[in-house]
Symmetry: C2
Subunit: 227 residues, 2 copies
């Protein structure tokens, strides 16, 4: 199975592709002003997407023979089907990986997102959600032991919150931003989460796909930023 012609748009999925050692061509699409031709990838212009298989074709004119896939969790499962090392092998561990993904997507990432971008999440709610996630982590290693697509689901959100808090970017008061950073990234209460985040963010996959300066600058026009 060749993965030469994987084409993708976005961070969670790219993290998985890098961890897998997949060969792919990366394209960035302006999320705000998506180009017209992008309907050839998805009629509703959904992002991220993977264009897979079929003959090599220009980005703006994908081959009708290639599969166009969307929905980040579906894409992550797809990458893990192509590269089985990205999920544990036994069915019970795979189920636990999916349960943790489900908990992250339904309970953690909406809170992290809303704390930063909506400003309608209290410190208490933020800490409670992070504590619940921390409680799911095993004593060592990644979310389900080995690095898996489960970690790809949470990494972009932790990375963004970390970067935004340090840049003073977000719809929270400066005081709450400082408190949130100290608690989440420096206090004893979140020691396990900090170790997890350090392990995740020191991997080559993270360092090669996450561009902190680009993200902070990109968000500057839309999100209040201290400096």
């Amino acid at each position: 199975m060749s993965v030469e012609s994987i084409t993708l748009y976005a961070c969670k999925v790219e993290l998985a592709l890098v961890e897998a050692g997949a060969k792919y061509t990366r394209y960035e699409i302006d999320m705000i002003r998506k180009p017209e031709w992008y309907t050839k990838v998805h009629p509703l212009k959904k992002l991220p997407a993977i264009v897979y298989g079929g003959p090599t074709a220009p980005l703006e004119d994908p081959s009708p023979a290639s599969a166009k896939l969307v929905e980040s969790l579906v894409l992550l499962e797809f990458v893990a089907d192509l590269f089985p090392a990205l999920l544990p092998a036994d069915p019970v561990s795979r189920a636990r990986a999916r349960l943790v993904m489900d908990a992250i997507a339904s309970k953690l990432t909406p809170v992290l997102h809303d704390f930063g971008f909506e400003g309608d999440v209290s410190l208490d709610a933020l800490f409670t959600a992070c504590e619940a996630f921390q409680a799911l982590l095993p004593p060592d290693g990644f979310a389900v032991g080995q690095w898996s697509i489960t970690d790809a689901v949470v990494a972009p959100f932790l990375g963004r919150v970390d970067a935004m808090l340090r840049a003073g970017q977000g719809r929270y008061s400066p005081e709450n931003g400082e408190k949130a950073y100290k608690e989440l990234f420096q206090s004893e209460r979140f020691a396990r989460l900090q170790k997890y985040w350090k392990d995740l963010s020191s991997r080559e996959s993270w360092k090669s796909t996450f561009d902190e300066k680009f993200i902070i600058d990109y968000q500057r026009p839309f999100v209040p930023t201290r400096a």
Copy 2:
């Protein structure tokens, strides 16, 4: 891998187990008054659940060595990991199966549910959602060709709407109930959906797991019923 000790609670997942030919012990839990001991299966008493592996133990006192799994989509993937015939083999087809599951869970089943149980969905919205699902179906066969866990996601909802409309059960006007039944289950517009539903509901897996009379009677105290 033995599945002798699978224990489960609910319809989607049971459908998949029957299709797989799995051996399992079935338990029914009162959804309204969940028993106290059920916290041993899930701390928040989530349903459905599968208790898998470990030594045989009484329902009320599951072995700490068994895995306790919840979330119906996670359970369906678990059953498909145990019995690979329940999903296509190639990664692109598996991704399409998951995209259709995602569309069903986010766009179709909430509308079917709310039409029947909340009464706040117009006939137009109901038909539009069903038409969008019908458009995802291939010309023949099941949601992704072969019977798959994708079909298990939609079957209990179609079956319930079919049964409730015939029994005049639901929070819609008698007039709208009649119109909905004629359109969805008898009109040319939904011919493909009707063929799909006929194929699904004539399978042994459906006939042996869906108890129409039980469901209508069970819902009678909560949902307005004509007869």
